[in-house]
């Protein structure tokens, strides 16, 4: 027991939380990559695209959670609603990040790659994307952390995850579960954050190679 909550309950909720926050993060990244690429490739697309995805972020999460079933035809308590909503938020954050990341590739490097005889697609994968990793993972960290926080709102519509500890604790006038929930959320967010930071390090050995002697 911790804060009046069984460890196993915390564990179960944590797993659900990871699932509900993590899967959309990955899906969001997968969707943002081509979107961000389009925004860098076709300059005129960038402003409407960035503004459009940014608009998603202004929709209150609670509204999205509840309205999605109406739009998607899913069941009211379906996890899919939360997954889709969180994916939308992730896309909102990450499209800009991917565009920024691809835009951060030095022009000279890009030119050199073209001059070496890389086709556009190949260049995107072997030159642009690897170099965009630091920027993209920085955005991914923000998205991961926000996802963990936003998902907890889904407790208000009865989708269980750590946020459920908030409603339960509140209803019982007991701060124990709430603190357990907050603590678990923060720890989860920081672990995800650190994990992505680590991944970024692993993916960018050249950044740590030190500078010229």
């Amino acid at each position: 027991m911790i804060g009046g909550v069984a460890w196993s309950t915390v564990g179960d909720l944590l797993l659900r939380h990871i699932y509900l926050a993590g899967v959309p993060l990955l899906l969001g990244l997968l969707i943002s990559l081509p979107l961000g690429w389009l925004a860098t490739r076709y300059r005129w697309l960038a402003p409407p695209m960035i503004a459009g995805t940014g608009l998603l972020y202004t929709i209150p999460s609670l509204a999205l959670f509840i309205l999605l079933p109406l739009l998607l035809g899913t069941r009211v308590l379906d996890d899919a609603n939360v997954l889709v909503a969180m994916t939308l938020y992730s896309v909102a954050l990450l499209t800009r990040t991917v565009a920024d990341g691809l835009g951060s590739v030095p022009g000279a490097t890009r030119q050199a790659a073209t001059a070496m005889g890389y086709g556009e697609l190949r260049r995107t994968f072997v030159v642009d994307l690897p170099l965009a990793v630091p920027v993209i993972t920085a955005g991914l960290r923000v998205a991961a952390v926000s996802n963990v926080s936003i998902v907890s709102v889904a407790a208000l519509i009865g989708v269980s995850q750590l946020g459920q500890l908030f409603t339960e604790g509140f209803n019982r006038n007991d701060m124990g579960p709430i603190f357990v929930g907050i603590g678990a959320c923060v720890v989860l967010a920081l672990v995800l954050d650190a994990g992505i930071a680590l991944l970024s390090r692993v993916l960018t050995p050249w950044l740590r190679a030190g500078v010229a002697r």
Partner: protein
């Protein structure tokens, strides 16, 4: 070998970067495009490998229109070096240099061997090959850029201000390196710079361009200095061009014999400036024996002027003569004193060669 036929490039914003340019870059040697900033050098260069497409006209390499070749393939067959090298920061030096060999489908072993060869050619070590670009100095990075352009043995290498971002001392090194490599490999180098000194010291052929991509003159450096085609070229090649053209004047200057003395040797007064050398006849400096005599002390030595090596250009000989405190330039061969020359003697030699058409 590379022929521009009435090539015009207008950018979408209306800038005419290159206007009806026709010229021929001869096979082999280094051809330098030089001109003031914004005159269309880079645009001209980049039309060769289709990084920029001409609006009108055509460009032929070995009589084949580049427009008929697939851009990516064309580019793989042409080396390309730019300022700051444009290396891929996420790849090791070796992987950078292996880029083109891999793109053209060589197997890994062959690509690796070719890359290592190119890396050695530009004077880098195997140890450096496994580093990332950021771990090298600017000059070394630029060398990697050159190696990358050479790795697949292209016939043509394009270079866009390759040395302008490095230290003046390193720049001289790199220039020598590129000249050596060009000679060794017999490739055709087209190089863009806005530095007329670099153009003159490096180019076998120099194309001076003026605003709007007009060709003002295409000539050898010596010709450029002697016979600038117009005021623009004359002012662009700048001051000191009389002196600089001596650099392209070969001379057989006959050195006058010069008796050297060694340190400690007693030299009487009245002998004027005396050249001091060591046992191997290597010059040490000048000592003034005008008013006073006595054994030659190390502290009395005046520093040498610049030295001329047998076979150097008239410029070096004249400078040696002008820079020596004695007015006599020291001429050496393999480091040993052969004799000295006065400025007058150098001038005579120049005249004899018809160097100033006098």
């Amino acid at each position: 070998m590379i022929r521009f036929e009435s090539v015009t490039k207008r950018y979408p914003d209306g800038t005419t970067a290159v206007d009806d340019l026709s010229l021929e870059v001869p096979r082999g040697g280094i051809t330098v495009f030089v001109g003031p900033s914004g005159c269309g050098k880079t645009t001209s260069l980049r039309m060769i490998n289709r990084m920029v497409e001409p609006t009108e006209g055509r460009i032929l390499i070995n009589d084949e229109d580049v427009a008929d070749r697939k851009p990516a393939r064309l580019r793989r067959s042409i080396g390309y070096v730019i300022q700051h090298a444009g290396l891929f920061p996420h790849r090791t030096v070796l992987a950078n240099v292996m880029t083109v060999p891999t793109l053209i489908g060589w197997d890994k072993g062959r690509a690796r061997t070719a890359a290592m060869e190119a890396i050695e050619k530009v004077g880098l070590t195997a140890d450096q090959a496994s580093r990332y670009p950021a771990q090298l100095s600017g000059g070394q990075q630029q060398r990697v850029g050159v190696a990358r352009a050479l790795a697949s043995d292209p016939e043509v290498v394009l270079m866009d201000e390759p040395f302008s971002a490095v230290d003046p001392l390193v720049r001289t090194d790199l220039q020598n390196e590129v000249r050596r490599l060009q000679r060794e490999l017999g490739i055709t180098v087209v190089l863009v710079t806005h530095d007329i000194d670099e153009a003159i010291s490096l180019g076998d052929h120099v194309a001076v361009m003026r605003q709007g991509g007009h060709l003002a003159q295409l000539a050898s450096p010596g010709e450029l200095l002697t016979e600038p085609a117009d005021d623009f070229v004359a002012s662009f090649v700048g001051k000191d061009r009389g002196y600089r053209k001596l650099g392209f004047t070969e001379t057989q200057v006959e050195a006058d014999p010069e008796r050297t003395v060694s340190l400690g040797e007693d030299v009487p007064a009245g002998r004027g400036w005396v050249l001091v050398a060591d046992e191997q006849e290597q010059p040490l400096g000048w000592v003034d024996r005008q008013g006073s005599g006595g054994p030659v002390q190390e502290e009395e030595l005046h520093r040498m002027g610049s030295l001329a090596e047998v076979g150097d250009s008239a410029r070096v000989f004249l400078d040696a003569a002008l820079s020596a405190p004695s007015g006599r330039g020291v001429v050496v061969q393999d480091g040993r004193v052969v004799g000295t020359v006065t400025p007058e003697r150098v001038l005579e030699a120049i005249r004899a060669q018809g160097g100033s058409d006098g």
